[in-house]
Structure formats: structure tokens, C-alpha cells
């Protein structure tokens, strides 16, 4: 328990050139709260310290963040700082059964995270769908030497909102009565998990708006009446200032925009977040698809009318260029992932990568990696249904994600930003060479949207030993199994990662093993591993053959009876003819 803070202190003392490097501590009791965020329905949500919405985290580059978590809800939970690299710190990344056993109810856990990057991020629960029930907040890392100049900043966390608890909706979603896999449609949308947010603007000033999409499902189209937006940041990566009238933001993505205030205070203006109906299976008439916040120049000024806007096409990789260039490298390894949805042999519609649906192992994948010695480089030890990919330290990896589904999916890789090096149509089968973008400085981000029946090629260097989850950030789809596990440089983990005893204590408290392979056994013996459903055979089974046999038999006997019945006639006719 003492190792982490001591390490943090040593790290701080080691820095000499940093402007300021503080230890920032948050004490977070994760609690239930009863509230009515959208004014339509009282419900139980997950908040922090009895408050909802949870407070934002604000730290500065080179700080060390310490979050003392006490789990006071009735389910085990974890926290994941979305977009944080966690270099050498994989055990603090958070996804349940990937890098830790979840924190049992009543227990506590301390996340110690050295802040070695800056930008707009968010922090959210990463067990079950806790973040959909409200366990999410903006996570802002300030840069003492920002690239762009602005006078003030605001954070806008857009999210869809449901009235039922996630567990209830999940039961309906993953059910034999939902063979088409229709995701639950939200009931409303919120900004910063509230309504009626206001942002004060003064003429002549430049404002940075940090825009986060914290949704379970929805994609928002952002536009501001009477103002253009200049995109300056994408998922924590500064980009060349690019002016747009509107842009789409998918679940888990972040953008920062600069907005120049108008010269007069004669009107107030609305900031719009319009949910994209394409993401929803049906759009009920009662669903208000838009959420707005108000830019206030003068409290007495009238509101300017809403402008009609054409969403148009938006290609982030084509439009935006990182300020700090990073050339791409040809890949040493290429991984091909094809995402699709179908009814499996448990008769529930599940998601698959390459026909495998993700099922969490009995032992968190990270604990397997640090306890299996030489075998940690053998993908088998991580189990079949955690769908592991083992990468060699410092190799360049290219992943082609094919979206073979009718819906759009935002895919997120933990522990990295990756370069978006190409986009294509359909499923890339490798029969022809891939057409990459013609650029020496491709866009980098950590959550990329792959539209329906398209593919995307991403590249990164495996320079961060750890177990990194790669999954669709539509929470329903993650629960349905659209995930895979990147086991990066297991051979280097032992020297770099320190997994302290609280981790293993939590596994024990939950009755889970904390070492060994995916089944908790030694070596390659995977008997007892958690197994998932498989594809339907699509062929005759024994009972089908028996049923078909009796069906045909009954028809044959029936027709035979008709012929037998008609035989007497023949005899009669025969007699008549002879008469």
C-alpha cells in the first residue's frame, strides 16, 4: 500500500525542470444518489461522496494524481482514466478482469497515476455499466505551456441518459427476445449530467470549449448558433487550428475548440448537441434528440434563433493534423479484426471480433501475464474468449478494424494514442494492397469511429508494456462482447510493473484466483476457463434429422394411402370396361 505514494514522491523529487509538480489527491466514496437529472424521472444514480454529478478532475502536466476510492455501492466497481497512457503503470488502468479484480463493495483502492500528458480526458467506471448510471466525470489535464492562447475555458460533457438502471436494460438487451440486438434507446440527453448549463462570454475574448462525449451510445453533432468553432485538440492530441461549423463526436471521443466571442452583447446563443438518429434502433416521438447549453453575453439579452445546420460529411483523419508531427512506420505485425453481430448458440445476439465473443477470464489478464513467467508470451495462457494478441516490445503494430455490421462503432484502445493511417470500404481481405493515407503526419487519437461496412487501419508502437483493452465504446456492445485484449510486451512487464497486494486481496475477497492462466491453473491447462457462446452451426442437428425423417415418412405413407384408396376404383373400372 505504501509503495505507490513512495514511488510518486520519488518521481516528484526527480523532476527539476517542471513548473510545478504536485500530488493532487481526490477522496472518492462511490455512492448511490437519488436524483432527477433530466427533470423527467427520479432514479437512483451512482455519484461521488453523495453528490451528483461527480466532480471533474483537474490536474496539471507532471502532477501525480491520487484517487482514494471507497466502494460504497452494492456491486464491485473500478475506475478507468480514459485516454491516460499509464506508462509503466498498467495496473492502475482499471478495466475489470483485464488489469484488476474489481473493488469489492465496502473495500477501498488507491489509483496513483503519474500525469505525463495533457489535454481533455474523462474518468469513468469500468465494470458492468456503472458509467451509464452516472459514474463518469471530465478529467482535464492542463498544460502550463498551452500551444494555443485563450482567455478562459469551459468543459462540456455531453451524454445520453436513461431512466432505468443499466442492469435492468442490459437484461432486456442481452435476451433471447432481442434477436436483432436492438440497443436500448436513451430517454434524453444532458450536458455535464445536468440541464440548463450556462457559459458566460465576454466580447473580445477567446474561449476554449473542451467537449467530451460520455455516452453509452449516442453520437452528438455539435454546433453553436452565431459562432464558428476552431478545432485545436483531438483526444488529447493538439492539432492544427481548423475551422468548422459543426462536427460529430462519438462515444468516448473528445475535441477542444476555440470560440471567439462576438463583439456585442445584444444576444445570447445556444450551444447545440444533436443526437444522431442513425445510432438508435427506433426514435420515439417523445424523445427530445437535442440538448443545449446557453452562452450568456448579457443575462437580459434575448436568445438568438436556432440556425438550421447541415451535418455534412466529417472525416477526422482527412481534416485534422497533429501539431507535433510523428511519422508513421511500416508495421512489423498486422492484426485484422472483423466486427460483426449475430445470434449465437445461446440464442442471444452477441458481438464478435473474428467470430469470437469476449468473455472475461477467471484471472485478470494482467495477473496472468505477471505470474506465468516464460509462458506469458504464449497467447494460450490468456484463454480463448479473452481473445488475446501478444505483441513484442517496441514492435510497430498495425490493426485493421473491419466493421461488418450495419451500425457505426467507436473503437477505443487503452494505453495509447494510435495513428489513423487509412480508411476503406468493406472488409479488407488482404488480396490487394491496402491504400493508406498519403501523409507523413497522420492524425493520432485513442477512439476512432468506423462507420458501417467500412474499415480503418491504425498503427502504434508497442512501447508500453501492459495489458490493454481494445473495444467498442458503445457500452451495450462491450457487454455483448465486442472486445479483444492486447498483451503488450509481457516479457518486459516483470521489470516495469508493480502490482501491489491490494489487487490480489480484492480477488480473494471476490472468490477469484489472482494468479495462473485464464482458468486459474498452472501451465497450459485451461480446463475450467470461462467459455462463451459460439456461432450457431447452421446445419442439421440430430433432432432436426429425426423431425425431417418423420415429416417425409408421413407424406409418403399419406400418398401411399391415397393410391391404395384409389385402387378399388381401378378394379371397378376394369370390370366396367370388360362389360
Amino acid at each position: 500500500m505504501l509503495v505507490a505514494p513512495v514511488k510518486a514522491l520519488a518521481f516528484l523529487l526527480g523532476l527539476s525542470a517542471a513548473a510545478h509538480a504536485a500530488v493532487v489527491t481526490y477522496n472518492w466514496n462511490i455512492t448511490y444518489v437519488n436524483t432527477n437529472p433530466d427533470g423527467l424521472m427520479d432514479r437512483r444514480v451512482i455519484g461521488i461522496n453523495g453528490q451528483f454529478p461527480p466532480p471533474a478532475i483537474n490536474v496539471t502536466l507532471n502532477d501525480t494524481l491520487v484517487i482514494n476510492v471507497v466502494n460504497q455501492i452494492s456491486e464491485p466497481t473500478t475506475l478507468h482514466a480514459h485516454g491516460l497512457f499509464q506508462t509503466g503503470n498498467n495496473q492502475m488502468d482499471g478495466p475489470s478482469m483485464v488489469t484488476q479484480c474489481p473493488i469489492p463493495p465496502g473495500s477501498n483502492f488507491t489509483y496513483t497515476i503519474p500525469i505525463q500528458q495533457y489535454g481533455t480526458y474523462w474518468i469513468h467506471g469500468h465494470n458492468k455499466g456503472h458509467y451509464v448510471d452516472g459514474l463518469r466525470a471530465p478529467f482535464i489535464i492542463h498544460n502550463p505551456a498551452e500551444v494555443y492562447h485563450y482567455d478562459e475555458e469551459y468543459t462540456l460533457g455531453f451524454a445520453d441518459w436513461y431512466h432505468d438502471e443499466h442492469a435492468v436494460l442490459l437484461d432486456e438487451y442481452l435476451s433471447i427476445f432481442n434477436p436483432s440486438g436492438a440497443e436500448p434507446v436513451p430517454k434524453s440527453a444532458l450536458i455535464n449530467q445536468m440541464l440548463n448549463t450556462q457559459y458566460s462570454f465576454e466580447p473580445g475574448k477567446v474561449y476554449r470549449l473542451r467537449i467530451i462525449n460520455m455516452s453509452a451510445l449516442a453520437m452528438f453533432h455539435i454546433h453553436i448558433d452565431g459562432h464558428d468553432m476552431d478545432i485545436i485538440e483531438v483526444d488529447g492530441v493538439d492539432v492544427t487550428r481548423t475551422s468548422v461549423k459543426t462536427f460529430p463526436i462519438s462515444a468516448a471521443q473528445r475535441y477542444s475548440v476555440l470560440v471567439t466571442a462576438r463583439n456585442t452583447t445584444s444576444n445570447n446563443f445556444l450551444i447545440h448537441g444533436d443526437m444522431d438518429p442513425e445510432m438508435f434502433d427506433t426514435v420515439p416521438d417523445t424523445l427530445q434528440m437535442n440538448i443545449t447549453g446557453t452562452i450568456i453575453y448579457d443575462a437580459t439579452s434575448p436568445l438568438a434563433p436556432t440556425e438550421l445546420i447541415d451535418w455534412g460529411e466529417f472525416d477526422d483523419a482527412a481534416l485534422l493534423t497533429p501539431v507535433i508531427p510523428m511519422a508513421t512506420s511500416p508495421a512489423d505485425d498486422q492484426i485484422s479484426l472483423t466486427a460483426s453481430f449475430q445470434v449465437m448458440d445461446d440464442y442471444i445476439n452477441k458481438a464478435t471480433f473474428n467470430d469470437i465473443t469476449y468473455v472475461a477470464p477467471k484471472v485478470p489478464t494482467l495477473y496472468t501475464a505477471v505470474s506465468m513467467g516464460n509462458l506469458s508470451s504464449d497467447p494460450q495462457v490468456y484463454g480463448t474468449y479473452s481473445h488475446p494478441w501478444v505483441l513484442k516490445h517496441n514492435s510497430w503494430v498495425e490493426i485493421i478494424i473491419n466493421n461488418n455490421d450495419a451500425g457505426n462503432h467507436p473503437f477505443h484502445l487503452h494505453g495509447h494514442v494510435f495513428q489513423v493511417v487509412g480508411r476503406g470500404e468493406g472488409v479488407y481481405d488482404g488480396s490487394t494492397p491496402y491504400t493508406y493515407f498519403n501523409t507523413t503526419n497522420p492524425l493520432r487519437r485513442d477512439t476512432v469511429l468506423v462507420r458501417s461496412l467500412q474499415n480503418v487501419a491504425i498503427r502504434f508502437q508497442a512501447n508500453n508494456p501492459g495489458v490493454w483493452f481494445l473495444h467498442c465504446h458503445i457500452e451495450w456492445h462491450l457487454q455483448a462482447g465486442l472486445a479483444t485484449t492486447i498483451v503488450e510486451a509481457p516479457e518486459a512487464m516483470a521489470g516495469i510493473l508493480t502490482v501491489d497486494q491490494t489487487h490480489f486481496d480484492h480477488c480473494k475477497a471476490l472468490g477469484l484466483p489472482s494468479s495462473g492462466n485464464a482458468a486459474g491453473n498452472q501451465g497450459l491447462d485451461l480446463t475450467g476457463q470461462n467459455v462463451g457462446p459460439n456461432l450457431l452451426p447452421g446445419k442439421f442437428t440430430t433432432k432436426g434429422i429425426v423431425a425431417l425423417f418423420f415429416t417425409v415418412l408421413s407424406a409418403v405413407v399419406g400418398l401411399g394411402t391415397v393410391v391404395w384408396y384409389a385402387q378399388d376404383e381401378e378394379l371397378v373400372l376394369g370390370k366396367e370396361d370388360r362389360r
Binding site: 427476445f177 436483432s180 440464442y347 447452421g538 408421413s554 391415397v562 393410391v563 391404395w564 384409389a566
Partner: protein, 361 residues
């Protein structure tokens, strides 16, 4: 059911009804040529009456039929919102009953001629007995074919209505035309005294096909019901197709889907045999059940006929020994049914009464 261009059941309905009508007309004409062999003028006049009555009956039937079918298909269908799987199922079952009845009736097509000879002779005898006025007798040979054709026509229309509820309207005209043509041909063959044995075999084969169609329709009707219920359970927005209730499923193949337009063969299988790549307990059990019912009915009918035939045989033996007495006698059988001499038995083996005029037909 069948093609979208040619409805097989409608074809057979028209076929059978036209055959019967053609036989009736041919019996009348034969009667005329037999009886009025010497009086050409009378024969010609009465023949024209027969044809006139037939033609008028045909025209009226077609007008009523066409009107009914158009109205029925346009408005009657909407009354029951026929897109609902449940109504497709119900009316499919109605069609099953009609096709089955039609199919079983077809097995006795070759007896139509005998039946009508007897009926006609009876009608003649009755008229002679009643001594009706000249007028009705003069036009008897106009009225009889008119009424007969009308009756057959209306029967056909009712059958078509029941059978085409779930089919496309454009599959009807071609089937009607071809059915009538086939009926004329066969009626003519019967008139000419064609080989009854071959005809009988043809009709037996037709019945087999019709019953197969009906059985397939049972399976499809049950599948339509189940699909309706499953759609409600899963809040399906449209006919999802391909999803099914896994709790009651016996086979689910990725191949061989009759709804897949690329593979025409499986569509045909579905139309003929009710085949689907998704088989449920319900559709399989009902399909087998249909055949069991048909088998049961056929066995029952045949055993009944044998019993009656045996009784007739005994009667014939009895009669030949009593020929001189000429008394009308009756025989009591085990099941208490009295079968008086001189009456025909309903639809089964026909006892001839040796009517003198028609003996040589």
C-alpha cells in the same frame, strides 16, 4: 401458394369443375343423339338449347366469378389486414380444407359420367311421372345445363375465394384459363369413351399433388402463426425474417432459405411442400398431423365402401334368386342401415337400375 404467375390449386379447381360441366353437357348431347336419332330437326333444336344453356351459364359464372374475385381480392382482403401473420395463417387453413376436399373428390371424377347418366334418367322419369306441362319440358334441355353450369361455376368461385386469400391476384387468370382448357379436353375424352383407366390414374396423381400442396400449406400456416407471435414477443418492427423462437426450434439452416430469391429451387420447395430452412416443433407436428387425418379419412371411407359393397353383393345374390318376384325388398345390415332396392347409395358404388333408354350410352 404455387407461383406468383400460376396458382396450382386454382388450376385444379377450374379443371375439375369444367370437367364435370363438360361431362354433363356431353351426357345430354349423347342422350339427344341416342333418342332423337331419327328426328334431325328436333335434335338440332334441342342441341342448340343445350349449347345455349351451357353458354349462358358459363358467361354468368365468369361475370359473377370475375367480379367476386376482384372485389374479394381488393377489399375483402383489407378487411382482415392480411399483412398480419395471424390472418394469413387462418385463411391458409381454410384453403387447406378446401384443397383437401377437392383432392379427395377428384378421386371419383371418372364416375361423374355414370352419376349424371343416372341423375338424368331419374329426372326424365320424374317428369314423365309428374306429367308437367309442355312449356317446361320444351325448355328442360335449356334450363338443365344452365343450372348445372351455374352451380359448378359458383362452386368454383367459392373454392377460389377460399384458396386465393393468401395469393397474388395475378396468379389467378392464367390458372383459370388453363384449368378450363384442360377440363374441356378431359370432358371430351370422357364423352368419347376414352381409356378410363388412364384417366383414373391421372386423377389419382392430381389428388396426390393437391394433398402435398395442402400439407405444405399447413406447415406454412403454422409457421405464419408462430412468426406473428414471435414478432410480438420481440417487438419486431417488420417481418424480420431469419429470427425465430429458439425454444421451439428443431432445425435452423444457414442454407436453403426459401426467402432467398437467388436460389429459386428452395422457393419452389416451399410452395410445393411447405419447406423452410427454419423448422419448428409446431409446423412439423401439424404437418404430420395433417397426413394422419388424411390417412384416417381415407381408411374410414374405404372401409365403409367395402362394407357397403359387400352388402350390395349379398343383395345382388339375393335379388337374382328373387328375380321373378319383383318385390322391393330391403336388407338390414349390422349397423341398422336400410338400403332399399332401386335407390342409389350416396356417392359410392352405384347400382344401376338398367334404365332402358340410356342402356347403350
Amino acid at each position: 401458394m404455387g407461383n406468383s404467375v400460376f396458382s396450382v390449386p386454382v388450376y385444379f379447381i377450374l379443371f375439375r369443375e369444367t370437367t364435370e360441366a363438360a361431362v354433363i353437357v356431353s351426357v345430354l348431347l349423347s342422350f339427344l343423339s341416342q333418342v332423337l336419332a331419327d328426328d334431325h330437326r328436333m335434335r338440332k333444336r334441342l342441341s342448340r338449347q343445350v349449347w345455349a344453356g351451357t353458354a349462358l351459364g358459363l358467361i354468368i359464372s365468369i361475370i359473377i366469378g370475375a367480379t367476386f374475385i376482384v372485389v374479394w381480392n381488393k377489399y375483402g382482403k383489407n378487411l382482415w389486414a392480411n399483412s398480419e401473420g395471424i390472418w394469413v395463417g387462418v385463411f391458409s387453413l381454410v384453403a387447406v380444407v378446401m384443397i383437401t376436399v377437392m383432392g379427395l373428390a377428384m378421386l371419383r371424377t371418372t364416375q361423374i359420367q355414370e352419376k349424371w347418366k343416372v341423375k338424368l334418367s331419374k329426372a326424365m322419369d320424374e317428369e314423365a311421372d309428374r306429367g308437367l306441362g309442355n312449356s317446361s319440358r320444351r325448355y328442360a334441355l335449356f334450363i338443365l345445363p344452365l343450372i348445372t353450369v351455374l352451380r359448378e361455376g359458383l362452386e368454383a368461385i367459392v373454392f377460389i375465394g377460399g384458396v386465393t386469400f393468401t395469393t397474388e391476384s395475378k396468379s389467378i387468370p392464367l390458372a383459370v384459363v388453363l384449368g378450363m382448357i384442360s377440363g374441356f379436353i378431359v370432358g371430351y375424352i370422357i364423352y368419347r369413351g376414352g381409356n378410363k383407366m388412364n384417366l383414373h390414374r391421372f386423377f389419382t396423381a392430381s389428388t396426390c399433388l393437391l394433398l402435398l400442396l395442402a400439407a405444405g400449406l399447413v406447415a406454412r400456416a403454422v409457421a405464419a402463426f408462430e412468426s406473428y407471435v414471435w414478432g410480438k414477443l420481440t417487438n419486431a418492427q417488420s417481418d424480420d425474417g431469419g429470427t425465430y423462437d429458439p425454444r421451439y426450434n428443431v432445425w435452423a439452416l444457414t442454407c436453403c432459405d426459401p426467402k432467398n430469391n437467388d436460389l429459386g429451387g428452395w422457393q419452389l420447395f416451399n410452395a410445393l411442400f411447405g419447406w423452410s430452412n427454419i423448422g419448428s416443433i409446431g409446423s412439423v407436428v401439424c404437418y404430420i398431423g395433417y397426413w394422419l387425418i388424411v390417412i384416417g379419412v381415407l381408411v374410414f371411407m374405404k372401409l365403409k365402401r367395402r362394407r357397403i359393397a359387400r352388402a350390395n353383393a349379398l343383395l345382388a345374390v339375393h335379388e337374382s334368386s328373387n328375380n321373378s318376384s319383383g318385390d322391393k325388398q330391403s336388407l338390414e345390415l349390422e349397423d341398422e342401415k336400410k338400403i332399399p332396392v332401386g335407390e342409389t347409395i350416396q356417392g359410392d358404388v352405384v347400382r344401376e337400375d338398367h334404365p332402358v333408354e340410356l342402356k347403350h350410352l
